[in-house]
Amino acid sequence: MIGIYLIGAFSIVIGLFFIRNKQLTFGLLGLFLVLQWILTFYSYNNLRSTDLTYFTYDSLAFLLLVTMSIISVAAIFHSHIYLEDQPAPPETRSIYYASIVLLITAISAGYLANHIAVTWIFTEITTLSASALIYHHRNKLALEGTWKYVFICAISITFVFIGILFLSLALEQAGSQDLSYTNLVTNSAKLNPFWLRLAFLFIFTGFTAKLGLVPMFTAGIDAKDKAPAPVGALLSSVLMNLGFVGIFRFYIVVANTPLHHWANMVIGIAAFLSVFVSTVYMIKVKNIKRMLAYSGIEHMGLVMLGVAAGGVGYYAAILHIILHAFVKSSLFLQFTQLYRVFQNKSIYNVGNYFKYNTAGAMVLLTGFISATAMPPSGLFVSEFMIFRSLFEAKQIIVLAALLLLLTIIIWAFGKNILKILFVPPVDFDDSNVPKISPWESLSQFVLLALAIYLGLNPPAELVELIKESIMLLPQ
């Protein structure tokens, strides 16, 4: 199936790249979405089965794939609106559509890959497609953003590759040469700790660029800022999840070796620093998109803290990353409408959104509540579990510091969002504000509702899948 999917998707990409006709484009996009969902259902039907030797439909992949498919529908729909609203030259359009489809395909394949090298290849492809999307606006700043993104991603991909090389060295001692995760886990006892240590260090550092974690967090920020908001929705949700997959799958391997504790320490340090960094900038930043991006960094920090703490933290981490994907993408999608109203993304020149687009304002409000993990948002549950895992791991000081930082973040986030919602902006004439139909906010409402529902009342299926995906970890 995956073969069909990849071939189909790539041919669609090529098609989109060359076709200028609108109807045909939409036809192809629709086709692709169908394909995407077929893959999703297929992977659900034969869960835990391997395909083309390099892809496995395991539970983690499936969970993220569903998230992906749901978000991708909304993202493509809003990309359409976006391009209608700000008409671009036809070739730019087709590049946009081609690369967004390529991005989605690469990410999906990356989820499913069961071989570290394959994951790595698809990560590389995401860099390519993402850079094309970031450069959509063809202006100086966009170029700068693209350049930085490409360069840092290239470096980090190289890091990952170095990591893989070290891993192979580590594996040689075990007398095996198969770099698939399952094999790694089975041989985990025999891996050479020295090489494994280096491997983990490099692979982790490499994937932080995608995950948006300290140390390589900067690239993602600029990308999400410069990319069109619908793409930002993808970059800040599912692409981050790809980074998570990359790290998590390998972490499972390390967790079964004596290095477990050390790895936890490494992850914990990076994660806490990420939360710290996001706090620093949540106070400062005045650009709404960048603010959202930094909140994404904060959440990734939380997720990795959950992983580092272990225990119930693993469960919480996976739940959190799924819910966060929904919430953050909905916020980014809402931003497109916000931008259409004010034609500006600086908090200073934006305000009283409640008056111009009530539905959208409600999305922002709910999104804010969800993103800051206040009850009744689903993220509250996962954060609660993460705190609990930290408590269980006897990391009270970390927990206290974390809570302080989170409080500051809520304060800064709340201040800005409420300014956007209620306070009228200075010298802004609302004479030619476009009327925005509330239906455009529907998708965001659905995503947020999903986040709340899955958090507060997770179906037994979901719980099972999450439990299964952390099954290999030492509890």
Partner: protein, 675 residues
């Protein structure tokens, strides 16, 4: 069971429906919804008081586990208070919001928030599952926040709102810590596990657990030093919301503390002293700051802190009584606290509502601009007067009854107390007396300046009394206030059930104590009634005597000065001057003065800005510190590509090197050891 699901379902329907309605419909639906929920919950509550505790269990979800709802007399008492305040406040609010008719979107948001607020408050009293409790708690905080920022287009309002939001979030963090603690140890979210845990561990554990919870709830209740959000949030909110916040929102904190007292089994005596001391300080501090306020709502907000202090003193004494096994003291203390909770809810909401009427008539909250309103709005004046007398704890009104109970708990405690407790007692008495006196000082000032004398500022627009229908709930509250004043034993009868939950004795066991207290209260009721009768008689006598006496009217005697102007009146500031000179060191009053100078002085001015010393040192300074600390790190993302790469290198190298270096150091020390 079914009625509970209905009770949850109806509001949700309303919440969904409201945004698509006409303004009138919105108001009506909201209020009907309110009445429905209130009616349902009150019915259950009353049955719980009469027929003992009831319990329901919901399935809950995979996350929460089974959700236990339990309604005992304590919950019931608070539910009743909540419903009273909400029914009156909602009714009043309908008319209050008429002035904002054009902002439909805000109003529908407001209505939703209002329903959710009421629902969550009522639910909080019955939920026995910590995770669900937390969620409901935050729902309550959020809806209150939405309700507060109704006039969110003002940046000041928004600031106050966010301040409130953050502080209530901090409170939830403390609660969360406590609950996580218990959940980690016992693996259950049910409140019962708290009891198990505290019983199966040394009292010190229970003590810390309680303090953790206490801080969490104290933020909501507004104990010193967790009070700083109150004086900002109350003036910012629309008046009916301020009334409700001050009336019941902060009381839910009190409920939480009481619930924890019931749940956590530990050394009550030390808890008692802890609460008693904090409360005494809160009471004094609150009223001392209240006196120097110019903004009426701020003044009332500080008085809420004071009254929370009084309630807290009751709780503290009750705990100590419980710890010493002195049932009578425990009873007096707890009943006093519970009754004062109701009383404060009544007169404080009434005060806020009357102030709201004044505000809508004059569009100002600054005392110094008001005056002589009694001629324009007699009803409002009367209502405010009643509430003011009540809040000073003066007979024949309700305030006296609860304060009397707390006083007498102190005097009962005296009988068999050793040295240290005696000193505590005497100073708490001192505090209580001073609180009473200062409250009187404050409210004579407020009433005198707002309603009496001549207007200190000419208002261009006419000032009118509120419509009669808007005054109905206010008169209802006033009626209750007087009713409790002259018929306290009846209300005590109801309270005693809740008290028995706290003192932990079964129904029927407490008949003798209850009886003795009830007798005393009966005397008070009679005395108050007699007092009122006496006043009326005296007044009639006066009428009779002065019937055919000549009464002329002239200007106020200006001690020889013949052309008095309203400017010459004694202002609020001058009224409190001697006070603020005495306590100037404790308070923080910023002054801008342009003194009178020269032979022919021109313009002279004196501006004073009262500020909260605790807020300055506990909130403002630390926040500034943290911000500047975080500000030092903004270079991190300075847009230079090299740096971004550098972080990666540093990260990897340090993680490789530090362990090696550390190992080397260890080896070195090993080597030293071997020498």
């Amino acid at each position: 069971m079914s009625n509970i699901s209905a009770y949850l379902l109806m509001p949700l329907l309303a919440v969904v429906a409201i945004p698509f309605m006409k303004e009138k419909a919105k108001a009506i639906v909201t209020y009907l919804e309110l009445l429905l929920v209130a009616g349902l919950s009150s019915a259950i509550a009353i049955s719980a008081i009469v027929g003992g505790a009831e319990e329901y269990v919901f399935g809950g979800s995979a996350v929460t586990g089974p959700i236990r709802l339990q309604i005992d007399a304590l919950s019931a008492w608070f539910i009743l208070i909540i419903n009273i305040v909400f029914i009156t406040g909602g009714f009043y609010g309908i008319f209050y919001l008429k002035a904002y008719r054009e902002q439909q979107k805000q109003i529908s948001l407001h209505c939703i928030a209002f329903i959710v607020l009421h629902l969550s408050l009522v639910s909080l009293c019955v939920i026995q599952n910590s995770l669900v409790f937390l969620i409901t708690w935050e729902l309550m905080a959020l809806s209150a926040f939405i309700a507060v920022i109704f006039e969110g287009d003002k940046m000041s309002t928004l600031k106050a709102g966010i301040n409130y939001l953050i502080q209530s979030h901090v409170s939830i963090l403390f609660l969360m810590l406590g609950f996580i603690w218990v959940a980690v140890k016992t693996g259950s979210f049910d409140f019962a596990s708290i009891t198990e845990y505290s019983q199966s561990n040394p009292t010190s554990v229970g003590l810390f657990l309680f303090i953790c919870f206490f801080i969490g709830f104290a933020f909501k209740a507004g104990f010193i030093p967790f009070h700083t959000w109150l004086p900002h949030a109350h003036p910012a909110a629309p008046t009916h919301i301020s009334g409700i916040m001050s009336g019941v929102l902060i009381k839910i904190g009190i409920y939480g503390i009481m619930r924890m007292l019931v749940l956590i089994k530990t050394d009550y005596t030390s808890i008692g002293y802890f609460i008693l001391i904090i409360s005494a300080i809160s009471g004094l501090y609150g009223v001392m700051l209240a006196i120097i306020q110019h903004n009426v709502k701020k003044l009332l907000a500080y008085h809420s802190i004071e009254n929370i202090g009084i309630i807290g003193m009751g709780i503290g004494i009750g705990c100590i009584g419980l710890g010493n096994g002195n049932q009578l003291v425990a009873w007096l203390g707890f009943s006093g606290a519970l009754l004062h909770t109701l009383n404060h809810a009544l007169f404080k909401s009434l005060l806020f509502y009357t102030v709201g009427i004044v505000y809508q008539a004059t569009h100002t909250l600054n005392i110094e601009h008001l005056g002589g309103l009694i001629k324009k709005m007699p009803h409002t004046t009367l209502l405010f007067l009643i509430a003011a007398v009540a809040i000073c704890g003066i007979p024949p009104l309700n305030g006296f009854v609860s304060e009397f109970l707390i006083y007498s708990s102190l005097y009962q405690w005296v009988q068999n107390a050793t040295l240290v407790p005696l000193i505590v007692i005497i100073f708490s008495t001192l505090a209580l007396v001073l609180i009473g006196g200062l409250a009187l000082f404050c409210f004579t000032k407020a009433f005198g300046t707002i309603f009496l004398g001549e207007p200190r500022k000419k208002f261009v627009h006419g000032i009118h009394e509120a419509p009669a229908i808007q005054r109905i709930p206010l008169y209802f509250i006033a009626l209750l206030i007087v009713g409790i004043g002259i018929f306290p034993q009846g209300f005590f009868g109801v309270v005693s059930h809740a008290t028995s939950v706290l003192t932990g004795n079964r129904v029927g066991e407490f008949a003798p104590i209850q009886g003795s207290i009830a007798d005393t209260l009966q005397y008070i009721g009679l005395a108050s009634t007699g007092f009122i009768v006496l006043i009326v008689l005296m007044f009639l006598l006066r009428k009779l005597v002065t019937k055919n006496r000549v009464t002329t009217s002239s200007v106020t005697w200006g001690c020889g000065y013949v052309s008095p102007t309203p400017k010459l009146q004694y202002t609020a500031s001058s009224y409190v001057r001697s006070y603020s000179k005495l306590f100037g060191h404790l308070l923080l009053i910023g002054q801008k003065e342009k003194p009178v100078s020269g032979i022919f002085p021109e313009h002279a001015a004196l501006k004073t800005h009262p500020y909260d010393r605790l807020e300055k040192s506990l909130i403002d300074r630390p926040i500034r510190g943290i911000k500047s600390f975080l500000g030092k790190f903004v270079f991190l993302n300075n847009g230079k590509l090299q740096f971004s790469i550098l972080y990666g290198i540093i990260f990897i190298i340090s993680l490789i090197m530090i362990p090696l270096v550390y190992g080397l150091i260890l080896d070195f020390f090993e080597f030293i050891k071997q020498l």
